[in-house]
């Protein structure tokens, strides 16, 4: 009489505890990523549908001007205390405006606005909603008493206080498609997209090839190798602003630009070239005129210079993990160095190179600071990311910038899906 053993269903108590523990460990990470990455991503999409400019971020508030209209020199003199109140913003409304102020106790209050209540010398007014740009006056008629004449008090000595709810420009229900229309109708949208893709592909491939070459060099044994490896890594390690500005001065077309002076001294060029300011130069090859993009190429060279070390590092690590037996066997079979590289090293490196290509492709596409610091997006070097900044902060149209950012994000999402499809399964 044996019953077939049945595997337990669902999670056992131990597994449940482990799951709870794992979630507890991941909770902080999850929270910070949610609040600083995922929520802003959502907020960006939200903003891209709103007509928001940079100036709108300053919340609207209530401005008041308090004045005594009239003379209170003798007992029984009457005068008006006038509050001029207005909404500082011409675009957004303010709701639930509530004013409180203290009047001099030695004044007799005669009449006042029917929205106000007076309790002893304290006045409180429920002014309701102020739509954009609204202004109005509240008048309180007072008469002087003997005590006031003896010791006059300036009514402005007590500041009036306000309590109100400004409309949040980011939270109202004002939506528009204008931002996206603007982005796609802009004459430079397609050139910018092409420049981004051209730049990204050229930098990724260039940095990989250079990294592969440098890794080959660093795989030799020679004196001073570790020093050179440290040196080769420094473009990647140094702050981007430091190296970018060093390049800007190096390439300066004016007096004091090192590279131009050097090339003139060597007799390579006749006059200075504006490496970062010239959009294109015509080159004649076999009767054909080709347009060579100068600034874009220089920016690409800078980016390759800055990111080849990363490719070198990863390729080198992979190369050093390849066992030497294979090379010895090939040596015995008479394979030449180039054949060994072609048929042994390259196939072994293909995996890491593919991963590097995809990762670098996405990160290069994301890059903003480098081009911004080198050219500011001028001379045909404007990529989509620079365009985000340009729209949001230079033109001060946050909504339009956010719309470009949405386009950037969608393109990246597309690339990421490809990346996930082709990335090797290495989490075993």
């Amino acid at each position: 009489m044996t019953t077939e053993p049945i595997p337990p269903k669902g999670l056992g108590p131990l597994a449940k505890r482990e799951t709870r523990f794992a979630y507890a460990l991941l909770l902080p990470t999850f929270l910070i990523v949610l609040s600083v990455v995922l929520f802003p991503l959502f907020a960006n999409v939200w903003i891209s549908f709103k007509p928001v400019t940079l100036g709108d971020l300053r919340a609207p508030s209530i401005l008041v001007n308090e004045r005594l209209m009239g003379d209170l020199a003798a007992v029984g003199d009457e005068a008006d205390i006038r509050y001029r109140i207005r909404n500082s913003s011409r675009q957004s409304d303010i709701t639930d405006v509530f004013m409180t102020d203290t009047l001099p106790a030695t004044l007799d209050v005669l009449t006042f606005d029917d929205r106000c209540t007076i309790d002893d010398s304290a006045i409180a007014c429920d002014l309701g909603d102020y739509e954009a740009g609204k202004r109005e006056e509240i008048i309180v008629r007072v008469a002087a008493t003997q005590a006031f004449v003896d010791a006059p008090i300036n009514v402005k000595d007590t500041e009036s206080a306000f309590d109100f709810l400004p409309e949040n420009i980011l939270l109202n229900d004002d939506f528009t498609l204008e931002n996206f229309r603007k982005v796609f109708n802009a004459s430079d949208f397609w050139p910018v997209l092409w420049a981004s893709l051209y730049y990204t592909i050229a930098v990724t491939v260039g940095a990989l090839v250079m990294g592969l070459f440098a890794a080959q060099l660093m795989n030799m044994t020679f004196k001073g190798r570790s020093f050179l490896r440290g040196l080769y890594l420094s473009p990647y390690v140094a702050p981007v602003i430091a190296v970018a500005l060093a390049w800007v001065l190096l390439l300066d077309p004016g007096p004091g630009g090192t590279l131009n002076a050097l090339l003139i001294q060597l007799g390579v060029i006749d006059g200075p070239i504006s490496f970062l300011g010239q959009r294109a130069v015509d080159i004649n090859i076999l009767g054909m005129t080709l347009e060579f993009p100068v600034a874009l190429t220089v920016v690409i060279v800078f980016e390759i210079w800055r990111y080849f070390p990363l490719a070198m590092l990863f390729i080198l690590a992979r190369m050093q993990s390849v066992s030497t037996d294979i090379y010895e066997a090939a040596e015995i079979d008479g394979a030449t160095p180039l054949q060994q590289f072609r048929f042994i090293s390259l196939p072994q490196l293909m995996g890491i190179m593919a991963v590097l290509f995809l990762l670098r492709f996405i990160w290069t596409f994301n890059k903003f600071d480098d081009i911004f610091l080198l050219t500011g997006g001028a001379a045909g070097t404007r990529t989509l990311t620079v365009n985000v900044y340009e729209q949001a902060f230079a033109v001060s149209n946050l909504g339009a910038g956010a719309a470009v950012a949405v386009v950037v994000f969608l393109i990246l999402l597309f690339f990421s899906v490809i990346f996930f499809k082709f990335s090797p399964e290495d989490d075993a």
């Binding site: 597994a15 482990e18 799951t19 794992a22 460990l25 991941l26 902080p28 990470t29 910070i32 600083v36 929520f39 802003p40 991503l41 960006n44 939200w46 971020l57 919340a59 980011l170 440098a214 080959q216 060099l217 030799m220 440290g230 420094s234 390690v237 140094a238 702050p239 602003i241 190296v243 500005l245 060093a246 001065l249 190096l250 004091g256 090192t258 002076a261 050097l262 001294q265 060597l266 210079w305 990863f314 030449t336 160095p337 180039l338 990160w363 596409f365 994301n366 903003f368 600071d369 610091l373 985000v388 949001a392 949405v406 950037v408 994000f409 990246l412 990421s416 996930f420 290495d426 989490d427």
Partner: protein, 410 residues
Amino acid sequence: MSRFGNIFYLCLLFGALWGAIWTILVTLLALFISGELFQPQVTAGALAGLIAAGLLTFFPPEKRTLGMRVLAGFVFVIVLTVASGATPMGLAPSVYSFGQLVFLVLLAWIMSQSIHLTALRFGPTRERRYNVEVICLRFIKGFGLVAFTIAVALPFFVMVMMSLKNQQLLLSNPLDFSLNFAQGAEALFRSYIELFTQYHFGSYLMNSPLVSVITVLITLFFAVPGAYAVARLKFPGQHFLSRSILLIYMVPMIVLVIPLYAIFSQLGMRNTLWGLMLVYPATTIPVALYMLQGYFRGIPAELEEAGLMDGLSRLNVIRKITLPLALPALASVALYVFMIAWNEFLFAFMFLDNVNLYTLSRGIAELNSSEVPRQHLMAGAVIATVPVLALFLWFERFLVAGLTAGSVKG
């Protein structure tokens, strides 16, 4: 087999190429150091290199003694001088004459060494394809080393040198990087001193480390438990999480900057260091988590299971067994995160308006205007670069191991 073959002709070719390359480079070095307008004699250098290579590789390898190599270098200089009309560096020998001599000796030594190493162990004979490739690759690798080194070092060299000069000298002769030590240390480092006395660099140099160190601490505090969970514990969604972490790291900063700018402005957190200390960890935690989980997987689970058997709680296992074993990875992640936070430009640039809160990157951006002389800008760049570079080179091995551990497998 004939006495002379393809190897000899290749050596002649590479000798000529080395001659041209080193003549240009050494002449430019002399120009940079002296400030005299030397002119590289490329053709003469190539001819001299060809003849010197012919002389040295004419003999079989065992006969290329030190004396022979010195002779080849000497011949190189003679031919260079004659072919260039007694101006081996483009100026009359009377200009900067002792210096010229020193640079010519240097050039001769480098040339004979380059030819010798390129032709090492090969006679001037005809050889198989294997050896032809070996000798070609030697030249290409040698050239690659020279080219990479110069390309990488030149911007840094210019950065340092410009920071020690003054604007008038820079504009009058931009190729003159000679330093005037006679003016005394204070005059030499004037732009550095002025940055600290007039441009608040003292406070930037406090803010940057503060923000970076806090970022590192927060990142580790968040990422270590998370990485442990992803690497070791079994829970629904584990596989999905371990793959989607990197996806977070691919979210472009520029997409986050508009909403964060808007939200932080309204919350009053924009112009504060706290704002940066919240944003930086959020962007570094995913990559730190990814690197750490790769390393945690490499630690044998048996060690932790032994701890569990002996009655340690999970938290104590992490504290007493896993973390000590993962110390190298923790160090490399910390260093990498520090580097990211120290170098970060976009958010510092967008968020900080108050001079007292500037980080170094933000402070240098402020120097980038036509009113500030260039040497100040470059001095600022040097101040920002030196700490992070020194730290990195010091711990390079750690970092390289940690950076590549997560992703390079099999």
